[in-house]
Symmetry: C2
Subunit: 202 residues, 2 copies
Amino acid sequence: MIERKNLLFVISAPSGTGKTTVSGKILKEIDGLIPSVSHTTRPRREGEIDGKDYYFISGEEFKRKIDANEFVEWNEYNGNYYGSSFENIEKAEKLGKDLLFIIEVNGAGNIRKRHNNGIYIFILPPSINILRERLVHRGAESGEAIERRIKIAGKEIQHYTEYDYVIINNEIDETAKQVFSIISAARCRKNNLIMNSEESAK
Amino acid sequence: MIERKNLLFVISAPSGTGKTTVSGKILKEIDGLIPSVSHTTRPRREGEIDGKDYYFISGEEFKRKIDANEFVEWNEYNGNYYGSSFENIEKAEKLGKDLLFIIEVNGAGNIRKRHNNGIYIFILPPSINILRERLVHRGAESGEAIERRIKIAGKEIQHYTEYDYVIINNEIDETAKQVFSIISAARCRKNNLIMNSEESAK
């Protein structure tokens, strides 16, 4: 009889690297994996669902949660607050599910401080130039905003050394497959198993 | 620009657990992975090809190779000698390929002593009873020989703690997929990459 620890996967990637698409594919294909839903003070965009994409809360409520120590990590980005509640982790554990965080490098760093068993994955754009092209192609932001993101991306990329796995996102399906493999492998990593060798020898 | 270290994968499993079938599938599906071909003094079975399944050599030649320190590991099993030459590893490195060892627990232990970067995978039968059924079903050996294998298997299973990954072979395709994932994940593990962050930021 083999049991398995609940695992915590953390994916970081600069904006425009495809982490949202990749995680969407992963969550659809992999059983027993649920996304961590962040709280944010950022205004809800069209199509986003409260409680699914984010918990959209006011700045006031966010501050109350910080004071009550309800966040495993929180951060300010582009003038908005983002945070992951401890409740997310507890919920996944109760359900016996693995938890997937899609989070920027500082948030990942804060989770790392509190969890020894997290598996950290960094998705890199093939190059900064290709990243810029993708952001321009997406057409969601001004040139100035894109250059700001590029500058942040350049800084974020330096953090790849803090991660367990590094994937270059040349092709989105290939990247999704690699993340799939990492999760699949982690699930049969001995350190993540709770085994009783007497049992298995019967 | 990301380069990758050549990797060395080691799979062990008791007889009848399906390691030969699994490794056949893996070698067929995964690019850049070649099998380590062992030397043996065991008589060639029908269908086996010299230089592909094994290098079939005499006991005398085997002893000469031991004395010349040509084996990274060697062992005696059921009255026959088996060994893996250093030449196998050097050949894979020259070719820029990853190397796959299918080897019993003692051989794996000896390789582990000489390689820090090996990835060790143990495939378990669902249970000893199911293993016995499979060996009987295979029909290659007497009941006595099967019981001897079962006894050896029981001892081998205790070594799973020395491995990085543990897979229960409930279903051969599922097991092959898991090995595939482990290899795939290892290939993007940061510790196995040689990265130049300056380059990747360009």
